[in-house]
């Protein structure tokens, strides 16, 4: 009978911790096979990549766009690829938002929410800084104004200083 109780406990605990969230150090899913639409998925192999998950209904996401746009302007010439990934369920919401706001960086649409389900973002927005080896080096859950902006820039500087 003791083994039955033990089995029950293990089953319950296993179900509780079954969340497969992409964390720092994990390999980030490849963008070309992630089902992204709305633009050409850039070549990211061997490059430093910033992936920002956003949605048209997410106010902090919208607040982060100007800062991300400046980061894109400053770091794209140095080889950093910045991609915004919309997780909007409705394609019309994504299209209307992109048309109205015109994000100052490549804004693709995770049309089937395939990538976001694979990554399991902890909050909206979430920004992943991915190294040249394809592994997540830094992760920002939420947008906290200039603090996030400064951290992102410092992290990109660290990654750029590393040997390719």
């Amino acid at each position: 009978m003791r083994s039955v109780f033990f089995f029950t406990l293990v089953l319950t605990l296993t179900a509780t911790v079954s969340r497969a969230e992409i964390k720092v150090g994990d390999l980030f899913p490849a963008l070309p096979s992630a089902g992204l639409v709305g633009g050409t998925v850039p070549a990211t192999e061997g490059k430093i990549l910033v992936v920002d998950f956003w949605a048209s209904w997410c106010a902090p996401c919208k607040a982060s766009f100007p800062a991300l746009g400046k980061i894109n302007t400053d770091y794209a010439p140095r080889g950093v690829v910045l991609v915004g990934v919309s997780v909007d369920e409705k394609a019309s919401a994504y299209a209307a938002f992109v048309k109205k706001q015109a994000p100052p960086f490549l804004a693709l649409h995770d049309v089937a929410q395939q990538l976001v389900r694979a990554v399991v973002v902890p909050a909206m927005p979430t920004t992943y800084v991915i190294g040249r080896d394809g592994k997540v080096r830094y992760l920002h859950a939420g947008y906290h104004g200039t603090t996030t902006d400064q951290h992102l820039r410092a992290e990109l500087d660290v990654l750029l200083a590393e040997k390719s």
Partner: protein, 76 residues
């Protein structure tokens, strides 16, 4: 109660409990579009809110305590 029946009951209960414990039952951060909608805001109609506050004050001799930040999208 036979041990076999008890075992079956325990396994059924475990399966049910584990189903409740999985995160698939939660609203994930990317699924909160409806919660973030304007109509979900408690302060979307100032007149209705003022009326409700008046009724509440008349009945309870108290006011306030309704402060809820955000629209429910769970952003940040």
């Amino acid at each position: 109660m036979s041990s076999r029946l008890l075992l079956a009951l325990l396994l059924s209960a475990a399966a049910l409990v584990s189903g409740c414990a999985t995160t698939t039952a939660l609203v994930q951060p990317w699924e909160r579009a409806t919660l973030a909608d304007y109509t979900m805001r408690p302060d979307r109609d100032p007149l209705a809110l003022a009326l409700a506050e008046h009724v509440y004050f008349s009945r309870e001799s108290a006011a306030g305590g309704r402060g809820v930040g955000g629209s429910g999208c769970g952003c940040n």
